[in-house]
Symmetry: D3
């Protein structure tokens, strides 16, 4: 049982954060376990609504790999992979789009509205939000790096954010599927971390928060004792170069790097397996996950 | 070859319609063959963009029955029907939503943007646009009408149109999937004709245009010589009551009736199999399909 | 020590209140010990700033009896009292105004700004905010009630709230001294509880919170065991009539009654001697002080 | 008889032009036969209204030489000419102003409003729209060019376009008489082609269309076979210098040159003797008259 | 020589009028000698600009009978009269329009702008400002009143004041010629007093000031000693009925009556032969001309 | 007695000033006898209201030395002085604030509102309007200048004028007490002349008018025959340097110099002992007091 004095202390602890973030944009990449476990899902939705009512402008970008895989399986569609990326033919990208836009996005929008927000789902096709270009997989062959066409996997080429900003200005929470539209009219599936990082940059966000399934970043990802709570931009770039970062973590760190370079104040990799980690990260002094910042003040790794 | 004088005459024929519709809202139900044939599809998209640039505020509601059926088949999901309506369990409505929102809506939005408009897709879940209630199928049994629960098939309960109006005010073309959200959070598939009729009513539209695959309405639908080009509200209601209208046409006529009752000036059932029938209906004196109006000036059935 | 899980639970407990009060006006009467004790003062100031950053529009009305008495004493000015009200000649009201406007109001404004808000002080003379009329003291003499002129003590005659609303719309916190201006140009000192109640009514506030030095209301104010946490409008009126309420509490309860009658949803008498009682009352389920509401749902007295 | 398919093809031919000109300003110099023949007059008025309802912002500048000459004759006022320009004393310019502002402008405004637009007439005196300076006629005498004062004939010195822009923003069609006001308060009659060109430049118009009584420009104006449908800015300047352009055509070409130099995208000299030539020029692929553009893509002279 | 103390007293005398008229609309009928004499003309123009800079929204309606008569004479056009009204054929009304719009209006606009205002001229055709109907002259024949068609003399049928209000809102002074447009497209010449009265009514003006060439109203217009400085609405109506008012004064008094009935606070008939009579009437306590008011406070006739 | 012609001439004399100052900001330092004498007080208040209704945006800064001294005396608080500045301990500055904000400011606001304006009082603490720093007194000791701490006497460090501009935009007259807030939260008393000069600079005022108790500036302040009606910026700076200006006049001249340097067009030192000197200075050609301007056109000292 928490008593009145304690309750008051928690609320007052939140006050400087309320003041600092008031009116600012925060981009949240929502993915991993926090999308699959019903209780965690409810927690994240509540956290986003809390942000909204605390005067913040939250923008949600979601992933959905496991559900796409599930649907491909149901439809008897087999996938091959190149350098960890799914070879994505026209049928596959159509299925990915259907699942992301027509299932996952719809579900997040529904939950946000059900708990009292006003959310609107967007895909990158809406108002040409995400213009994409084909992403070529890098394959190391005979000591050389070759680029391989793996189909409709895309990179963000350009963001037309006016639809997002107009929805934010009117009090809506935009929920965005990482589907891009090519200049040739083709549909592209894009890594949601990159979309979130680029959006944070383009919107001049105050913060980028990537919700994932790990505790954060380790100096040596094979050694849990090397956990880092704060990483500078330079250190992050160094770790990418030297391969100190685990494969799945690379797009996350690269998204942080891109956002920071564009002026976003802070980026965070948050462990979505802990309830309300987003809320705690933003409104308390608790150390949650790893923050990547332009310059590090002190070392606590 | 059309010469200059003829071209000028066509443009000038359009002038009174340009003047009359300027600044008004037109709701278009887009369905049938015009969604499947690539050439017709392009025609409809061009027509909608023409409306937009002629100062009209077009709102698109789309259907998608055949594509839903196709996907259910691919997923090995069999359907049973009651009174012509598909029995729709939770899995079925999820697939319907995925196809409508993640495939058909996305495709229409993409085409509109590709040809120079700014379109944004919406489902009834976005900003709680379409609040739905369970629709009970009416079954005649032993001379009595019984209501039967057929799952997640919905009726429009309430429309929260502010997201649609705000998008229109900013110059976007809203494209809407006929998916509703129940007060209990359940997803409902709704007949797109009804959604279009209710939207036309709620938005105070000037016109409702239902694009379909038939020439229009017949006094006796088994006798093609009884084609009607203009029908009054009263006649339409009478024909519904007496069963003079074909099953598939009933929701269309009911949508017209509802829109007219709410003050929409004119409603149209347009044959989408003819190229640019929407454009011709709005900007020329050509008689296209059947118009249902509050009061009929003269009889031409 | 409060752990992460507990912190999250406190914040999430606040969410429904954030949602409910978002964009609404709350009028706070700030008086009593919470104005004299430096720690309590800082707490109240933080609470008000918290409200502001939580999307609420706080309006502060302050009292200042003890400080006025102190200054009168310093200036060698003696006071007489009629029915508990100070006989207030022109010199006295000028001193009261000087202390309220030039000392107490200035101090509150300074503290709010120092902790990060944008506050602006107002007296009832600014933009003719508080139009006052002379208040006549009621004296019981020989079994009859006579009205006695006690000088420049005023009642609220009319409120011109546009300056308050315009400051609120621009994000300022208005801090108001209970000084009124007569139609004849005379200055009147008004009970701050009444000013707060009338302002809550005139502004269509969602809540009126009166910070005072007692726990709340007792059914029998001589018996502490008769504490009431919820009182209905009817009960409050009855208690005033039957004399069940202590003298000092009467203006507070009357202010609540007036605000409720004008449509304010809830009014509260809060014990300012407990730290952050305002914050706890608004953002938690804690039972703080006595609430006076239009209709009581259940009895817990 | 034009059938449905042909009608649709004409409308769709107009679509790219609707898209391109939407929201842009088009300045139309209205003069010549199209002002005198009632049928042609109605055509031009309809064309301008069509532009308006197609989302364009039309601005009309009119001439009126023949009507001024007629009124001078009626009043028994004889004119002398220097280098083709009328010597204009104070009485003459007053008559010119009366005819232009009180007769021709009024008539155009009336017709536009009668056919459903909202037009407002302006002279250069309204809100000091056209500040003028005296134009000196150039006379060749003994092989030298001398400047001769011919009275109240003016050049555009400065345009105060805010009244025009404000009327456009509110949906009015401004109709402008080519009367200027000198810094000394004197009235000046200005060539309407120059006023139109300068206005197109000052308003950042997309197009300048000069309606006249000839087919267009000829490389050698004495040889009809040398008709030019597209002329580059450089070619136009060269033709003026070398005298390849007919006297009456010089101000038109100079107006085009000035507008193009200021960033107007295209200028057109249109044959007003053909019905709806303005409409055809803007909304069809028909080759109407001569266009003068910054750079010519191909030669078709 | 006026000394400082006197100057200050005149300015302070104006203060209550500045306060009372601030932001209000005043309609001024400008006619008579004050239009012909250059010094008086300059005075009136200065007075109007003074009003504008004193925070008033002046609207000017002008007459021009003498100048029309002059031009008709120059053009050898003879006029006949019925009941004091000129029989006005199409040619005559065209000349009247030319003189009013193209000469007198232009001149007033020029002078206002020259002295530092921003004026815009309007005729009743601009934006369909004055919709007119044919006025039938009343002729007494054999003891009966017959209506006689005298051509294009009009009555105000309807005023579309939005162009006037929009110009006022943007700080322009509208100057209006009393030319009306019939529903059939015909041009009508209307008495400027009636136009001014109707405009004052339609605009909700605070005051109507009619500048004329007489001292004001006399109870018996043949006896100068019966001058009236204040007349009530009822008295004015009575005087019209009993023929106590001179022919030329009738439209002025009727204009006042109509404006007062529609809520205009005060109407004035001002002697334009005295310099700055408009300014003195509005900003001083001087008794200028005759005021016609709803109710008279005291009698001074 | 002033006759009509004279009245008109005074009003017309004001016209160019009305035109020039329309929409501009004028900062008025209100001090000296004009604050103590009831008749002069009323005059100044009327003058300020006249400015307001003449389309000017007046801002009032007031002093109050004598009243502060009076209150200190009443409270038995003795003062010492260093270089003419009062040594101001915490108690003294609190009393100064009380008198300035709670008495003098309140009184001015009341009078302005009573005579028909809408005034709002501000202290430098409201919305952190005046950020102050400690002013160190300069003391000449043994031929050297030493800086001495004399307590809570302040200099303007920074002005946050948005509250002033927002009140002006909404038609309020801001009345400002010269109390500043230190970055440490301490209260500072500041010379009102400096506050007025800095405000004029920060607001981009057109004029700064300092109402005082002397005729103006003398070249030699001991010789009344050396009165100067116009002083250039350079001359003023020279006179300060050479000690040609009387002690009490120094802050006034320095305020003028600072305002002029920041782009204020004209500054004035006005003799408040003459009735309506502010009005006469602004709206007539009368020579009132001394104007300090950037460059002097002619010498009249």
């Amino acid at each position: 049982m928490i008593n009145s004095v304690e309750k008051a202390s928690v609320l007052i602890e939140a006050l400087p954060y309320l003041q600092r973030f008031s009116g600012n944009t925060v981009v949240i990449k929502y993915g991993g376990n926090a999308m699959l476990n019903d209780e965690l899902k409810k927690n994240v939705i509540q956290d986003i609504i809390f942000l909204k009512y605390a005067g913040i402008r939250p923008v949600v970008v979601h992933g959905g790999g496991p559900e796409i895989t599930g649907m491909l399986k149901k439809l008897g569609k087999e996938s091959s992979f190149v350098s960890g990326l799914r070879v994505t033919d026209a049928e596959t990208v159509a299925i990915a789009e259907m699942v992301l836009v027509g299932k996952i996005n719809s579900e997040i929008v529904k939950l946000l509205n059900f708990l009292g927000a006003k959310a609107v789902g967007l895909s990158g096709k809406d108002a040409d939000l995400i213009i994409a270009a084909k992403h070529l997989a890098k394959v190391r062959e005979n000591g050389q790096v070759k680029e391989v066409d793996i189909g409709f996997v895309g990179d963000v080429l350009k963001l037309n954010t006016s639809i997002v900003e107009s929805l934010l200005d009117q009090g809506y929470i935009p929920v965005i599927s990482p589907i891009g539209i090519g200049k040739d009219g083709a549909t592209y599936n894009i890594n949601a971390d990159y979309v979130a990082g680029d959006l944070a940059a383009a919107l001049g966000a105050e913060k980028l928060a990537l919700i994932t399934d790990v505790e954060g970043i380790y100096r040596d990802y094979k050694d849990k004792s090397t956990f880092v709570s704060t990483l500078s931009l330079a250190e992050a770039q160094e770790m990418i170069k030297t391969g100190g970062i685990d494969g799945g973590m690379i797009p996350k760190v690269e998204a942080c790097v891109k956002a920071l370079a564009a002026g976003v104040a802070k980026t965070h990799i948050i462990d979505g397996r802990n309830p309300h980690s987003l809320l705690l990260e933003i409104f308390t002094t608790e150390g949650i996950g790893t923050e990547v910042v332009k310059y590090r003040r002190y070392i606590n790794g």
